[in-house]
Symmetry: C2
Subunit: 294 residues, 2 copies
DNA sequence: CTAAACTATCTGTAAAACAGATAATTGGCA
DNA sequence: TGCCAATTATCTGTTTTACAGATAGTTTAG
């Protein structure tokens, strides 16, 4: 390798301040050192990162083009340093999950896992599918549990379990006695649904294919509990994962509706980094979840 | 930064060979230098990357856990060095496209672009959506033209133009006179389609939602031309982007079929790296494509 | 026109990277 | 079992690099 991470630091700091002195200061080094570090980098590759006019130092076109790549590189280098510094506890497991999975499926599995490994430390991050995929890709998470489909050459996507969306309304709702809904009913109803971009909403959109532009999506909410309460309050009919509704159905606080002409199934997936080392903790988690599935 | 890319090189080479001497050789340095580089790295962070037993050097658990991250880092560092070395020509534009787009839409735009910028060098890579997204993410491509939807926090996804899938058969096919197909016809037909994983197939699957498990997908082919020829030969009915079939329909070598009860539209998208510097070439390409759209 | 701010360069020093030699350990093989 | 070849860590000296401090030359602001 013909350059140093330090040189990249100097390059980026200088690009940021457009001022070598300040850049040097921010890196706790002398101005002369920063200056020569820059020049060294430029000479080595025979490139010009900055346009110099007297005391002004300004990013050149090439510098501008290179900067984002350098930022990305340095970010990864910092990440790596972090993982060097921080004792990467063998018994630490970082799990990421989407909202629905995190609230209704991940927690019991985590409980069981911690039962099995009493001294393991487990963390759960709840974010949307894209963010979780990105974190797994950057080694920030060990395992991701997601709803949406995903294609990424770096990620291994393992089908985990089937899920089913359920339609529901309040007990006092006109449709509560009817139970089975036609497409016409779906179009006539007022809806309370998850926000666009969420996995549940994606699945809803797919199930509603063809009707979508004409649906009366009255309320978009980010949380399942909020949707349940809105539906309970009679604001409309809702659509959520069946597992999020089991208790409410059993209790009778919400009434399940059917629309068998449409496909309400979807899949949940694990995602793992293909290259990442599968620690004992990761292995154990996977087998645990496979067992759960049955 | 408290470590060097060189140290990472030594770490990875040693991990690869499990032998310091060979690692040193492969990096054109002395064994002693490699040995102390390793020790330096280990001491700096007070970690143990290798288990040493006499003359044996073996990756420790921690080393195993760190290795993939280090590989990723070094790969990115090499990429960066490459972009430093290679005069990143301002007038160079690297475009990636999926098969359908690459063959039927990208080439005329590229032609127009090169007309506008006679001394620009343009390259076109044809790959599937996931691979193109990955390359854009790694700054290997300036622009990606893709079919499938995509969510990625690092990528900007810009809707580009609508596309439409078309059903078609050979002139002599029994359905050729009927023209309009019911769902029952779709189920009864033998199909020649693109392979699973391709954007066209994804769109096909979505359009066929509900019927999918019962369809007679007789032939899966990777290339549009192959599908056209297979359908011409009477092997079944096909489904491809309408733009890929325009000539064949005009010529009468293939007959278009309708199934208006299903939604055959889909969208094409640009993808760009959010952080990447938008060179004049990239800007120009984008405005060109926006113009094309009208 | 001057002062302040800034950069590049020169010089010397401390630190680091490296090669070569050497000693110690070990695994393989006779 | 005993010896040799292989391999690693360490020691030593040298070269290279990184850096600070000082300085000269520019430039901008006032």
């Amino acid at each position: 390798m013909h350059y140093t991470l330090r040189q990249i630091e100097v390059f980026l700091a200088t690009a940021h301040f457009e001022n070598v002195t300040q850049a040097a200061n921010s890196l706790a080094m002398s101005q002369s050192a920063a200056s020569s570090a820059l020049q060294d980098l430029e000479q080595r590759f025979d490139i010009q990162l900055f346009d110099r006019a007297g005391k002004r130092v300004q990013l050149s076109e090439l510098g501008k083009a290179l900067r984002p790549r350098a930022e990305a590189l340095l970010a990864q280098a910092r990440e790596f340093e972090h993982s060097l510094t921080q004792r990467t506890d063998v018994a630490e497991l970082k799990v990421g999950a989407t909202l629905t999975i995190g609230n209704y499926l991940a927690v019991p599995i985590m409980a069981e896992f911690m039962n099995l490994h009493p001294d393991a430390r487990v963390s759960l991050t709840v974010e949307n599918t894209a963010a979780i995929a990105s974190r797994v890709r950057n080694f920030e998470l060990d395992i991701g549990l997601i709803e949406g489909e995903l294609q990424d050459p770096v990620l291994e996507v393992i089908p985990w379990r089937e899920d089913e969306l359920a339609l529901f309304c309040a007990p006092g709702h006109p449709l509560a006695n009817q139970r089975t809904l036609s497409d016409a009913d779906l179009l006539a109803a007022r809806w309370v649904v998850r926000e666009a971009g969420s996995g549940t909403r994606q699945a809803f959109d797919r199930a509603m294919h063809g009707l979508l532009p004409d649906l009366d999506l009255r309320l978009n909410l980010q949380h399942t509990e909020a949707i349940k309460r809105a539906v309970e309050a009679g604001l409309g009919i809702g659509c959520l994962s069946a597992i999020a509704l089991r208790d409410a159905f059993a209790r009778g606080s919400l009434i399940r509706l059917e629309a068998p002409q449409r496909d309400w199934t979807r899949k949940f997936y694990f995602i793992l980094h293909r290259q990442k080392y599968r620690s004992a903790g990761i292995q154990s988690w996977l087998t645990l979840c496979q067992a759960q599935e049955r």
